[in-house]
């Protein structure tokens, strides 16, 4: 029990830097495609790690199932909206950033 708790805590702490780097990427990256990349990938990994940690600490299988359902839904939502925004940006002929 204790080792599960500690392992869960480890994964939650591991997840936080992903969120922070997602936000830093959103603020610092130069164009829309790179920002999309930072936002929809880093954040989802962070959420996945947090959910994995919480699942390790939870005491019933039902809770684990609900947690992973939530993660799956967020994954679907993020990837779909990332695809839609990027596709639309390509259609609008927004130039991807390249090293000057």
């Amino acid at each position: 029990m204790d080792i599960l708790h500690n392992a869960g805590m480890f994964f939650i702490i591991l997840g936080l830097p992903f969120f922070l780097s997602g936000t830093v990427g959103l603020l610092r990256f130069p164009d829309i495609f790179t920002r999309l990349h930072a936002l929809t990938k880093a954040d989802n990994v962070g959420l996945g790690l947090i959910i994995f940690g919480l699942a390790l600490q939870s005491d019933s299988w039902l809770m684990v199932a609900r947690l992973f359902l939530i993660w799956l839904l967020v994954l679907i939502a993020s990837s779909a909206s990332c695809h839609l925004v990027a596709r639309c940006a390509m259609q609008k002929k927004i130039q991807p950033w390249s090293r000057p």
């Binding site: 997602g22 603020l27 954040d43 947090i50 959910i51």
Partner: protein, 95 residues
């Protein structure tokens, strides 16, 4: 022990607050809209951590609704605001 979860939630809230600068700055409309996406993901994480920290499992339902509806705003934005709006410049400003 539950305080640590609240501390994590606090960090994520700070991440959201920092991300909001992009709404004000973001050159194209999509940049602004992406912050709503960030709020969705971060909000779910905050709710899950609070659910553990405050020991209130109802918050899981709220997180479920959050995650279910996260894509809706972005989809509407792409279909109704950004795409096929002929009065718009290449910079994506809804002029």
């Amino acid at each position: 022990m539950s305080r640590i979860y609240i501390f994590f939630a606090l960090i994520l809230l700070a991440a959201i607050a920092a991300g909001m600068v992009r709404i004000l700055r973001g050159p194209t409309a999509a940049d602004r809209m992406m912050v709503a996406q960030l709020f969705g993901t971060c909000g779910v994480a905050i709710l899950l951590l609070l659910a553990k920290g405050l020991d209130n499992m109802v918050l899981l339902d709220i997180a479920l609704v959050f995650s279910l509806l996260a894509a809706l705003a972005t989809m509407t934005f792409v279909r109704r605001t950004w795409q096929g709006n002929d009065g718009e410049g290449a910079d994506g400003y809804p002029s």
